[in-house]
């Protein structure tokens, strides 16, 4: 039982990591809570869904779907999520940035975007639960006393690879270095010829694409529904805060910590208490260590 809960926690944690990474990379450059990140995640899943099933509405959920459609579906989901992220930034955040709006205005606008897109998805696809999964559910592999399905292994591998890729991107590439420069000091970065607007655009593209990938992965594992973004972004934010917002190793640690903690927490009680546990952890961290485990320095005016 304990092994299984830990395994479930790690899998859940992998998804939280992807969301926390995307959220964090955006937060680093723009310094506000991009709450609508959660709905980008849902949009990615729905885009992939609509491509994968666009021609087979008759046999939805049955039989194997042709391979190339999967490839296109995943690509459209990931790239589409990136485009949604960029559009959100261009249409809403950029005018606010130009006006030098305070953080809370960004946060409220972000809530507005979240509500708008979530209900748009509900209007188009309906409120019912959909699934990308095809074929029967296979029994998983036994591993150290826990049962893990093939899709869960896929989630583990893909999120691990994406985390490493993102870390390499931030540390090694020129664009990644420019991102870190903007994160440290936008003014100094623009003095040396980095255009902060371009970097913000790149951050939204990369971060939102990560959210799209997470959305597709989770829809293979469970289901997709219009409201899936809320839980995801909240858990992503909690994972970020545990690890320290904007730090890549921090997000990885925070995601795993949160996933394992909330799954072990329900060992003796009903699974409905998961959210409660997650938010108690959040408030404990906000009060005791708002900079997170990795000790990212929080700016003075916020705390």
């Amino acid at each position: 039982m304990l092994h299984q809960l830990t395994a479930n926690g790690i899998i859940a944690g992998c998804i939280y990591i992807l969301i926390a990474l995307g959220f964090g990379i955006i937060y680093r450059t723009v310094r506000f809570f991009h709450f609508a990140h959660g709905v980008v995640y849902a949009a990615g899943a729905y885009l992939a869904y609509s491509i994968i099933f666009c021609q087979e509405s008759g046999i939805r959920g049955q039989g194997p779907v042709v391979g190339y459609q999967w490839v296109i579906g995943v690509l459209v989901g990931v790239i589409g999520a990136g485009i949604v992220g960029i559009l959100i930034d261009r249409v809403v955040y950029r005018p606010l940035r130009k006006r030098k709006a305070p953080n809370l205005v960004f946060l409220l606008a972000s809530f507005g975007i979240f509500i708008l897109i979530q209900n748009l998805l509900q209007l188009i696809f309906g409120a019912q639960i959909l699934t990308i999964r095809t074929g029967p559910v296979k029994e998983g592999h036994h591993f150290l006393g826990a049962v893990i399905t093939g899709i869960q292994i896929l989630i583990l591998v893909v999120s691990g690879l994406l985390s490493v890729a993102l870390w390499l991107f931030i540390q090694k590439t020129k664009l990644g270095k420019a991102m870190r420069a903007v994160a440290d000091d936008p003014l100094a970065a623009s003095v040396v010829g980095i255009n902060p607007e371009r970097i913000i655009l790149a951050a939204f593209a990369v971060g939102s694409a990560l959210a799209g990938a997470a959305g597709i992965l989770i829809s293979l594992e469970t289901n997709i529904e219009p409201t899936m973004g809320m839980n995801a972004i909240l858990k992503g934010i909690i994972a970020s805060i545990i690890g320290g917002i904007g730090s890549i190793p921090g997000a990885m640690f925070g995601g795993l910590f949160l996933g394992i903690a909330e799954n072990l927490g329900i060992w003796k009680i009903s699974a409905g208490w998961k959210d409660c546990i997650a938010f108690v952890i959040l408030i404990a961290f906000l009060l005791a260590r708002p900079g997170g485990i990795m000790g990212v320095k929080a700016r003075g005016e916020q705390l």
Partner: protein, 289 residues
């Protein structure tokens, strides 16, 4: 007609919620995103007292509001040390915790099944039954809330609140214990939200956790922001427009599977447009910092 009066009763309850949140958000400048938690507390305490112990709803209303105020201390005391986004996140999280407890503590709250058959109010032994009577009752509470809020914001105490909103450090330098003021404001806001929750429970006679989600908190905040930050008249406008306007969608003859998301989309769009064009709201004098 009955339906029209029902909408007015609901509007009245939202006006109380909006005014109480406006005191916290609009007048004191604290980013509180968990207001539904307090109305949830008021509603559940008052309903459970009436259902399990047969207490009069009047006592339940008062006790419920007091327990909501107590919850305000429990949430406010630690989280009001935080500022800006972090305060927003802490109050948002508290709202989710309260919702989650209401949903999962099945032994007491019956969880998602909700509490049916909550008794209504009675005045001098006469049971209030019609919508008319409830409209008068709620209107009375709206006026009580309005006068208390007006008294608070026009008093020297209210001036200190605006001082905290405009410049916390300056207020601190004037020798004001700003933490004390923040907590008092938070508790007063929670008390009136508790009253609103209790009124709602005894009026509808059924409550379940889905009436007190975080989306509800955001809707109340939208009413505050739409009507105007730091404007009591604005709270009337904000609550009235945002309750009544979406009801009009019903008359266009849309199926509810379209009308419900459409209504939410309008809320979302409104929030975005407000933030882009007029972040302080229609009648507001003060923008966010």
């Amino acid at each position: 007609m009955e339906y029209l009066l029902h909408i007015l009763v609901i509007t009245g309850i939202y006006i109380i919620l909006t005014m109480s949140l406006n005191l916290v958000v609009g007048y004191t400048g604290l980013a509180a995103l968990g207001h539904a938690a307090f109305s949830c507390m008021g509603a559940y305490v008052s309903s459970l007292l009436a259902l399990n112990y047969g207490l009069s709803p009047w006592i339940g209303l008062f006790v419920g509001a007091c327990v909501a105020a107590l919850l305000g201390i429990v949430i406010g005391f630690p989280s009001l040390r935080l500022k800006g986004d972090y305060l927003a996140l802490a109050t948002f999280g508290s709202g989710i915790i309260v919702y989650s407890v209401a949903k999962n503590w099945v032994a007491v709250t019956r969880g998602p099944m909700g509490l049916p058959g909550i008794p209504g109010f009675s005045v001098c032994g006469v049971q209030l039954s019609g919508v008319w009577e409830y409209l008068i009752l709620v209107a009375a509470f709206v006026f009580i809330t309005y006068f208390v809020m007006r008294r608070i914001v026009k008093s020297p105490f209210g001036r200190i609140l605006r001082g905290i909103r405009e410049d916390e450090v300056a207020a601190l330098a004037m020798g004001k214990n700003i933490n004390k003021y923040k907590i008092i404001v938070f508790v007063v806001g929670a008390f009136f939200a508790g009253i609103a929750g209790s009124l709602y429970a005894h009026y509808i006679t059924f409550i379940d956790p889905s009436s007190f989600t975080v989306m509800e908190s955001i809707t109340i905040l939208l009413m505050v922001v739409f009507g105007g930050m730091g404007s009591l008249a604005g709270s009337f406008v904000g609550a009235a427009v945002l309750v009544i306007f979406p009801e009009l969608l019903r008359f266009v003859g849309m199926p509810s599977s379209v009308a419900a998301p459409l209504r939410q989309m309008i809320y979302g769009l409104l929030l975005i447009v407000l933030m882009l064009k007029r972040p302080q709201g229609i009648l507001g004098t003060y923008g966010w910092k």
